[in-house]
Amino acid sequence: MNSAIFILTGTFLLAFYLGIRARKGQEMKLEEWAVGGRNFGPIIMFVLMAGEIFTTYVFLGGSGGAYRMGGPIIYIFNAFCYIVPFWILPPIWRYAKKHHVLTQSDFFSKKYDSKPLGLLVAMVGVVSMIPYIVLQLKGLKIIVSETSYGLISPNLAVFIGVVAVTIFVTLSGIHGSASTAILKDILLLVVILFLGIYLPYHYHGGIQPMFETLETAKPGFLLIPDEGYSISWYISTCLTIGLGQYMWPQVFGASLSSKNERMLRQNAAILPLYQIILVFIIFIGFTALLQIPNLQGADTDLALFKIVKATFDPWVVGVIGGAGILTALVPCSMLLLTASTILSKNIYKAVKPDTSDEQIGRLTRIFVPIVALVSLFFTFYGGNSIIALLIMAYSFVLQLFPPLFCSLWKKNPVTKTGAFAGIIAGVIMVAYVTLSSATMGTFFPKAPQFIKDLDIGIAAIVVNVVVMLAFSAITKTSVKVETEAEENVV
């Protein structure tokens, strides 16, 4: 047994212990379990929210993306994602406070005065969260198999990881996530800064020489190309992520529990600075490309660990792997928590309204292992590379943006039928395209290149908006006719 495995196991056990121990001294009612009784201090809130940035998607997908895509990878630290919440969260928060809204699904059903719409929003949320969980588990698989030097079976490791997370989420709820999140963020910050600076200096004598070597070896690789990952791909992907980011149920819900509007805007203003860490991640990917140039396809997600193993002793690999395990498990625990809360509170209760709060509390904990099992299934079954999966899930939640945005206007032009139809049209389009692995080019083979490169989320949102407005126009007139008819009868 080498030192890497020893450190990996140690980190895992420590996280598990912290997760379980967090339960101590808490009375575990649903409110306490799901949202910490809404009294987390600002620092914990910031760590939980900033922790959203540091998932395996960033750790492996960011470095792997730099390795595979080159220059266009700069989309991962586009600041647009924080400009959107700066403007839209305060009005949402104000409305939520006035009407005692607790979840995203509640928000929609209240705004549009439609329980079925709330149910639909809840379902879109859960369906999108599953690929996000799968993504974390796939990352975990890679991390364990690489850093244990192939000695631990990756499937077994994912299985153990999921069981551990399920246990601590069921027992400690969000307190478990919060105490492991702090450990994770500190460890990851140190690891990424160290690797992002050390690797370019070690191999090329600096960051600029590293970039110069890359430019000589692969001229134009650092630029945004005319086709494929082109400018129109870049802009549409940034839009998808920026508009979709706060449509994630777990992110949306977290922002509702803020103390005031000012704190929300403050958070949105500080978070871009936090993203600078992602710049260091792409240095790792680029250095890996120069040192280990032959990774293909999904293997590009291994870039970070391949270079780390080629450079350092097993114990350092172990520490980095430990940080990696936490980046997979912590977001996973928060997603499991939110998904099962939505399943019981917003889906089960919508179907059976006479369920008592106590039953809901029990049910929520039963849903945790169920969601975990479903995600496990997809982890073993699916084969997509990490970034492709996440972009699909982002495209799903993005479909909630148009009806949300319109509902913030003084005179909402959208009716509940319109919102419903639009979301369904958008989601069907994303699902169809993903399952048939089509692109915009498949639909419009003769279209100009800039249309072919558009992100599918943006294409789906256009369909969504058109359907939404059309249905709203129809239902609006029919409502008018109905009221007139009623008046005539009276």
Partner: protein, 62 residues
């Protein structure tokens, strides 16, 4: 004041979507394309913080 708030709040959007698609010159060791994107993380933060303060003042004066 209101116009100023809108301008300050929207400049970062332009910054986020403009891409400087070139390598030379290197600035602080980064190719222009990477430097521009990184610099806008800092500028966005500054612009939004100022906007936040102005919004606060505006709400206070109401």
């Amino acid at each position: 004041m209101k116009v100023l708030i809108w301008i300050l709040g929207l400049i970062p959007v332009a910054g986020a979507f403009i891409v400087v698609n070139r390598i030379e010159p290197y600035i602080l060791g980064l190719p222009s394309i990477v430097f521009w994107a990184t610099a806008w993380l800092i500028f966005t933060s500054v612009f939004l913080s100022i906007t936040n303060i102005l919004l606060d003042k505006q709400e206070g004066s109401k």
